[in-house]
């Protein structure tokens, strides 16, 4: 009845009106007022059904649950990726390419838009990968497949786009530590402040472990990062970052005259600025400036002649500038175009001899047009990247990709693209010489000729399917890639000097054909259960008549991942990987197929505004497995076989 209703609300109103007497009550204006568009097209990530290629997304939560301690380990969760190295201090994550001789130089690693790779040596990304703290990462987007059309040289086998957390989102203090077997001792601390508009975060960490069995590959990485975000004016965002890291890594083998027992030190610092200006409703200008500096100390005495020291150290620096515009020109057309300038310089007398310092610069022009002739159904992406390299001349890498939504949530994708990898300063200019008493007695690694860029032609078809009723998504990519003009190290000796054999990079006259497919299935059968199934099949063939059908890359690999919520704020992760057989340095070093099972159990705690998490992780629960084999070491009286040992470690995290 009306009256009784009013009376009861009278009582409630008395209480609530007292409580909210001082409060700011909502009015109808809160409901009727207009609002500007905040998430405009330029701010929104492209839907996966429209991306010109296959994309795998790994979230912050996925990273934490995986128990991974560094970025390379996280990439095990991406189909087609292989993680390994010649020792545990030099883990590379490589996309379906032979691990041997691969240091990730054919994949572009971006951290908040700045390119991470070593200008000094071989353009490798494996050091750079260690220079980001996992707790600082918001999300990783991996574009599987060539992306030179958007990013230029070195994005041959794709792009790993690491996005760190915005400083406005990370206020307060976070402390984290891993500790356990195998010398695992990791520490992380971050502190952030923000007023909602401006933010700053300082984070620092150390990571250490003893690597694999019977090999000197202890690793100790220390790093510190400062990130500041601000809005200098309306619709403008500016991010400034300063990053410093130092890696000390075990290297080499006793009695090895090409790689003696020693410690390598890699020091890196970089500054970058990233400015966005949304000057109109669907238009944005973006400016990125980055300076990167690295210093490597890497030397060991030559075993037969200890007075001769092999020095592979030196310094390098890099400037990268990019200016781009992103715009939506009409309902059918939107895109990005821009200019870039890159300058790399390396200095090292031991490595470059009298050629030191060496440098090159490159001007770039790129564009990507998205045409939607049937909006929501058919999307065509046309992209191109042109570079003018001061050493190797100009190149152009185009791409054409079409996405067709054949039914709601089901997209077919097909396209062709070309990619390029320009030679690094080392590949172009290496000149490592042995001197004894001031006299030139040999060439360790000396480049006699200029080399040209590698080229990749990639044809792909793909399928992306979403089955919302079953909470299932499937992503399949089938590819036919041809790598031409691959730069390969080859020995030479013209007999002119006492010490034998030098090495140089030459263009491989034969092509490498990679054919295969990979898939990623993600299924959430129950609210607290996530199941991932990744699979890869690739056949790598070199059209050398003497080619033996062994695979220097595994033919098959698969991963099965389970993330399960448990009662009492606990969660468990099971990650099973099966990697097929592969070879290191030719058929003399077969690596059998192996399984790896990682398990993690964690519990969360909450008290007011403080949250904590304690976890236990076991890596390689199923037992030790062979990670690397080198027959040459057996001749040096070294084990030759290097095993990843099962290890347990505990983690503790506090956030307040």
């Amino acid at each position: 009845m009306l009256y009784r209703y009013s009376v009861s609300f009278f009582a409630a109103a008395l209480v609530s009106s007292a409580a909210v007497a001082e409060a700011n009550l909502p009015t109808e204006n809160d409901f009727l007022a207009d609002s500007p568009v905040v998430l405009s097209v330029t701010r929104l990530a492209q839907p996966l059904s429209e991306t010109p290629g296959a994309v795998t997304i790994i979230t912050r939560e996925d990273i934490r649950r995986s128990g991974a301690r560094e970025l390379a380990e996280v990439l095990r969760l991406v189909p087609g990726y292989l993680v390994g190295g010649w020792n545990a201090a030099n883990l590379s994550a490589v996309y379906h390419a032979p691990l041997d001789d691969e240091r990730g130089q054919r994949t572009l690693l971006l951290i908040d838009g700045r390119r991470i790779y070593s200008s000094f040596l071989l353009g490798d990304t494996h050091h750079g990968m260690m220079g980001v703290l996992l707790d600082d990462i918001e999300r990783i987007e991996v574009l599987r497949g060539s992306n030179s059309a958007a990013y230029g040289a070195n994005a041959m086998f794709g792009v790993i786009n690491v996005i760190t957390r915005h400083s406005v989102d990370t206020t307060g203090t976070t402390l984290f530590a891993n500790s356990g077997q195998n010398g695992i001792a990791d520490y992380y601390a971050s502190w952030g402040w923000s007023d909602g508009k401006t933010g700053v975060r300082f984070s620092a960490g150390k990571r250490a472990d003893n690597g694999w069995r019977d090999i000197y590959d202890d690793k100790n990485v220390k790093q510190a990062h400062l990130r500041a975000d601000m809005e200098p004016a309306e619709n403008q965002q500016l991010m400034l970052a300063v990053d410093v890291s130092e890696l000390r890594a075990g290297e080499g083998f006793p009695n090895d005259d090409t790689n003696g027992f020693h410690t390598v030190s890699w020091k890196n610092w970089s500054i970058s600025g990233d400015w966005h200006w949304q000057y109109a409703a669907d238009r944005e200008i973006h400016v990125l400036v980055n300076y990167d500096n690295e210093k490597i100390t890497d030397q060991f005495p030559l075993v037969p002649l200890p007075q001769v020291v092999i020095d592979q150290g030196g310094q390098s620096e890099r400037w990268n500038l990019e200016l781009s515009q992103q715009a939506v020109w009409s309902e059918l057309f939107q895109g990005v175009w821009g200019l870039g300038y890159l300058n790399e310089r390396a200095k090292s007398v031991p490595v470059y001899g009298e050629r030191s310092p060496v440098s090159y610069s490159e001007w770039r022009l790129f564009g990507n047009l998205n045409w939607a002739p049937l909006p929501g159904r058919l999307n065509i992406n046309l992209g191109g990247f042109a570079g003018w390299h001061s050493d190797t001349g100009s190149y152009f890498t185009p791409r054409l990709m079409a996405n067709l939504q054949v039914a709601d949530g089901h997209t077919l994708r097909a396209g062709v693209s070309e990619a390029v990898r320009t030679p690094t300063l080392f590949e172009q200019n290496a000149n490592m010489l042995y001197y004894l008493d001031g006299e030139l007695i040999g060439r360790y690694f000396s480049q006699r000729q200029r080399v040209k860029p590698e080229r990749l032609r990639s044809d792909e078809v793909g399928y992306l399917g979403a089955f919302p009723a079953a909470n299932l998504t499937i992503d399949v990519r089938a590819f036919r890639e041809t790598l031409s003009d691959r730069l390969a190290a080859q020995g030479w000796d013209d007999g002119s000097l006492p010490l034998d054999a030098s090495t140089e990079y030459v263009t491989d006259p034969y092509k490498l054909f990679l054919r295969g497919y990979e898939s990623q299935t993600r299924w959430q059968p129950l609210p607290g259960t996530q199941l991932w199934f990744n699979q890869m099949h690739v056949a790598t063939i070199r059209n050398d008549p003497g080619f033996r059908a062994g695979n220097s890359a595994p033919r098959n690999a698969m991963s099965l991942v389970l993330f399960q919520e448990l009662p009492q704020d606990m969660n468990a992760s099971l990650m099973f990987h099966r990697i097929g057989q592969m070879y290191w340095r030719g058929v003399k070093d077969p690596m059998p197929a192996y399984d790896r099972l990682d398990v993690r159990l964690a519990k969360k705690f909450k008290a007011g505004t403080t949250t904590a998490e304690a976890a236990v992780t076991v890596q390689a629960l199923q037992g030790d497995y062979l990670e690397y084999h080198d027959h040459n070491q057996v001749e040096n009286n070294n084990p030759g076989a290097y095993w990843f040992e099962r290890r347990i470690f505990t983690s503790v995290r506090f956030q307040f």
Partner: protein, 312 residues
């Protein structure tokens, strides 16, 4: 007993009053949505059969300046300010007579609850501009079936509503993760951080100390960075970037208000203070696609919410 007598006297008074039917429609401000709604309300009343009604439309200052007349048979206030003004003195003699029935229309339920005590003792009802929390959770269930934990950023107003909000969520098998700015010294972002870390979706509820034209863009960007969808309570949220919004248009409020007024004119129960039966669901497909979400269409969701038995 006294209650029954009071009720009878009101009936007598009301039936007598309808002999000289004067309805006051009080606007919170001149023009705009208030004037449009008033015009629409008059049309609805006429269409409902009240053709010999005298309607006076204006703000409280306008109405107070009127030459002395018989008090109105019914007062309909449009908006917060008009409702607040109803408790103020009308003439030097005093406020609106205690027997004058009042329909508070076009205002949020929280504001009505806070102010209804001042107007007690009279027949009072309201038509809210905000659907009940139960409807929001129903929308969440139907639009985002995989989202089980609903984040709520609370403040002084919504803190008092949290128990009801949690109950409504539980009825849809959803849980609420709430953080109040009052617990973190009035700061929004620390509370937002707590909420985002544990939620699958952020439900914006009317809370001016949290959601304003200045803070909404930042909150929306933070939720987008976390790849968490926001569901809002107004069409403006949809434009800004919320994945979905559940709201009631002024026209829908007016139609419900007219129903109440017509019920009163027929001396039947005009029902409790409530949001309109009609409601609107909006979807921002662009943002939804970007988040990898596939939502049913706005039309489908609107129909389902209207058809279900859950009271708005």
């Amino acid at each position: 007993m006294r209650r029954v007598l009071l009720w009878l006297s009101l009936l007598v008074a009301s039936s007598a009053a309808w002999a000289s039917s004067v309805v006051w429609i009080v606007l919170s401000a001149e023009g705009g949505v208030y004037a449009e709604s008033a015009a629409m309300l008059q049309g609805e009343l006429r269409a409902g059969g009240l053709t010999d009604l005298e309607v006076v439309v204006g703000t409280w200052p306008t109405l107070r300046a009127l030459p002395t007349k018989a008090p109105p048979s019914l007062v309909v206030t449009l908006g917060q300010a008009a409702f607040d003004g109803a408790a103020q003195p009308l003439t030097p003699a005093g406020p609106l007579p205690a027997s004058t029935p009042l329909i508070a229309s076009l205002l949020p339920s929280a504001s009505f609850r806070a102010g209804e005590a001042r107007l007690s003792g009279r027949p009072l009802t309201a038509v809210f501009i905000d659907p009940a929390p139960a409807k929001f959770f129903e929308l969440l269930r139907k639009a985002l079936p995989t989202a089980k934990r609903v984040g709520v950023l609370a403040g002084p107003v919504t803190d008092t509503l949290l128990p009801d909000v949690r109950k409504a969520a539980a009825q849809q098998a959803l849980s609420v993760v709430a953080a109040s700015t009052q617990a973190v010294g009035g700061e929004i972002y620390p509370a937002l951080k707590l909420v985002l870390s544990d939620s699958d979706v952020l439900l914006a509820l009317p809370e001016p100390s949290v959601y304003s034209s200045e803070t909404l863009p930042r909150i929306l960007l933070a939720t987008y960075r976390a790849r968490i969808p926001m569901v809002g309570f107004a069409p403006g949220y949809l434009t800004a970037g919320a994945v979905a919004a559940l709201y009631v248009t002024p026209a829908q409020v007016v139609r419900e208000t007219a129903l109440k007024a017509l019920a009163w004119s027929r001396r039947s129960d005009w029902g409790p203070a409530r949001a309109p039966r009609e409601l609107t669901v909006g979807i921002n497909t662009r943002v939804a696609e970007s988040l990898g979400l596939s939502l049913p269409s706005a039309e489908t969701l609107t129909k389902e919410l209207l058809a279900s038995g859950v009271a708005p």
